[in-house]
């Protein structure tokens, strides 16, 4: 009977799911590849990561060393596989921490508003002004370099950005009528944040998380460049590039492969984020 069925609607095939273009698929494939390597890499290394297996150094690709050897004559393939474990692991943990903290505080600031919002936003803005690498250096100088310290430092560096982003989104959602309705109903802040706001900013937040992941991989490699990072004999990719950078002029695979590894991961994350699968909305309105 409903007379509002007269409004024009296209046939909506339900459950058709998502559309996903080729570039995005390639990105996802590379990300998954590295994820698998990161998780199962420990069992895949052909040689122990710390063992000097080649009497030469910066040796080219060969049957026994698929990616050549590093400056000490260690097997690069093993080291890159191990590096995936650390690079992906550290970056993912940090980015998750940073975004979780940033998003929670961003939503609280947006919902509560007022002085809490102003002071927190301004402080974090100013904190953004401290160059991230220098901040990393100071922290590591203060408390030493270990994986937890590294993760926390990176998370601290990126939390303000995540906060800003989440706050801007949450402020928009907060003005929506459904939040007002919930408020008029008498709902408290935690409910508003978790049930009304969070689900509506989750998409962009996840995309932002991806981009931040890229930056963290790069900052991590920058920190490695300045001599901080994972403990030997393990190394993240940035550290691998760093320790073998002398091989660059020789075209040594020892420096080229970890660079490719970094670039492939970061580029594919970017490609994936830029071409996220879109939910199909077959509606003309």
């Amino acid at each position: 009977m409903t007379p509002d069925r007269v409004s024009f609607r296209l046939p909506t095939p339900r459950g058709l799911g998502y559309s996903f273009n080729r570039v995005g698929r390639i990105g996802l494939a590379v990300i998954l590849f590295w994820a698998v390597v990161a998780v199962f890499g420990t069992w895949l290394t052909p040689y122990p990561v710390g063992k000097i297996v080649d009497s030469d150094y910066f040796s080219p690709m060969s049957g026994s060393f698929w990616m050549g050897s590093d400056y000490l004559g260690r097997d690069m393939l093993s080291r890159i596989i191990m590096g995936a474990h650390y690079t992906v692991g550290i970056a993912l943990t940090s980015v998750t921490l940073a975004c979780t903290a940033g998003v929670i505080f961003g939503m609280i600031a947006a919902v509560i508003g007022g002085w809490f919002d102003t002071i927190l936003s301004r402080l974090l803005d100013a904190f953004n002004g401290i160059p991230s690498l220098l901040f990393g250096l100071v922290v590591v100088a203060a408390v030493g370099s270990s994986i937890p310290v590294l993760v926390l430092t990176l998370a601290t560096i990126y939390a303000p950005g995540a906060y800003r982003f989440a706050r801007a989104l949450a402020v928009n959602v907060n003005t929506m009528d459904f939040v007002t309705v919930a408020r008029a109903r008498g709902e408290r802040t935690p409910y508003l944040i978790l049930h009304e706001i969070l689900p509506n900013i989750l998409g962009p937040v996840l995309a932002d998380l991806g981009l931040r992941f890229v930056f963290i991989v790069l900052v991590l490699s920058g920190l490695s460049f300045l001599g901080l990072g994972v403990q030997p004999p393990n190394a993240d990719w940035g550290a691998l590039v760093r320790e073998n950078i002398e091989g660059l002029s020789l075209g040594a695979p020892a420096v080229i492969f970890p660079s490719i590894a970094i670039a492939s991961l970061t580029i594919s994350v970017n490609m994936f984020i830029d071409n996220l699968p879109t939910r199909i909305r077959d509606r003309s309105e």
Binding site: G129, P131, L133, L134, I262
Partner: protein, 320 residues
């Protein structure tokens, strides 16, 4: 209400907020650096540190006074332009920073001069011809650049331009700067590296900002008036995207002051970032604090400026 008065009030408010933030930040910076472990006296004496020598030096340097006293002293000094005396070599911090800051600003200035117009041009172009080959190439390039560690870009640039081709000097500082041509040569390498890094960000953000305004009704209206794509973008979309673009540029420039530690290291360029790293390794607190303040001040100045540009570019606020 009088338009200008309101505008001034708004500007004054932004400046006031920036100033208050600065005071809070100075407090945070001072006490955060105080928490750094390691004793400057001990580090100064290095391998020769004996307990008596350390105690004597601490006394002489006034390190035994309470922290809050030193903070107030420092803050008052800061306000009057006195940055204190370096613990390490007894020179005024202002003098130590002075030249370095000029160097940093020079590098930032030259990079800005080149990178900003190029980045804005490419960003706007990519937005104007959205979806074209040009747009795709620019987008892919920017993604590639922001995906590669900075030290790789720098080292590759040195290898190619200085070592293999021999076109440019590998070091930028201490080079011959007697004429414009030589200045350009000297700055080429770090500027290329930094230019790559910051343009990529600016291009992305400019493109996004312009595309956002292209999707507005008034740009569609321009199309329906028969305007060309160029006119639509340059006359209608761009002026309204100034705010976000200024913000993107401000963030990039802020990076140029303090975030260039890797470039300074590789090109042996004596800027403030390297100074701060040195200061950290020698626990030279007055120097660390001053450097940190410089970064915060420049960042705040830039984002406040961008904020003001956004306010001034907005006719609703300008012509009330």
């Amino acid at each position: 209400m009088p338009a200008s008065l309101n505008l001034y009030a708004l500007i004054a408010q932004r400046l006031g907020i920036a100033l208050i933030t600065l005071v809070i930040v100075s407090f945070a910076v001072f006490f955060a650096t105080e928490l750094l472990p390691g004793d400057v006296a001990q580090i100064l004496l290095g391998q020769a540190a004996t307990p008596q020598a350390v105690a004597g030096l601490r006394e002489a340097m006034g390190l035994n006074q309470p922290a809050i006293y030193r903070f107030l002293h420092w803050l008052v000094g800061l306000a009057s332009g006195d940055l204190g005396i370096s613990y390490v070599n007894n020179m005024p911090v202002a003098k130590l920073i002075g030249d370095r800051l000029v160097n940093s600003l020079k590098l930032a200035g030259v990079t800005t001069l080149f990178a900003v117009p190029i980045a804005l041009g490419l960003g706007i172009g990519a937005a104007m011809w959205r979806g074209s080959i040009f747009d795709r190439v620019v987008s892919m390039l920017t993604i590639s650049v922001i995906s590669v560690p900075e030290f790789m870009v720098a080292t590759l640039a040195v290898l190619i331009f200085a070592v293999w081709l021999g076109w440019l000097p590998a070091l930028s500082y201490g080079a011959d700067v007697s004429s414009w041509a030589t200045v350009l040569r000297a700055y080429a390498m770090p500027v290329i590296t930094l230019g790559f890094v910051i343009s990529a960000q600016m291009i992305r953000m400019t493109r996004a900002a312009v595309i956002e305004t292209i999707n507005t009704s008034y740009v569609e209206m321009a199309l329906l008036k028969g305007a060309s794509r160029r006119r639509m973008v340059l006359r209608h979309a761009l002026p309204n995207a100034l705010g976000p673009i200024a913000n993107a540029v401000a963030l990039s420039l802020s990076y140029l002051v303090g975030g260039v530690i890797i470039v300074e290291t590789i090109f042996n360029y004596p800027g403030v970032a390297k100074l701060m790293v040195d200061a950290v390794s020698t626990r030279d607190l007055p120097l660390i604090q001053s450097c940190a303040m410089i970064f915060c001040v420049s960042h705040l100045t830039l984002i406040t400026l961008a904020d003001l540009i956004a306010i001034l570019a907005n006719p609703r606020l300008r012509h009330r």
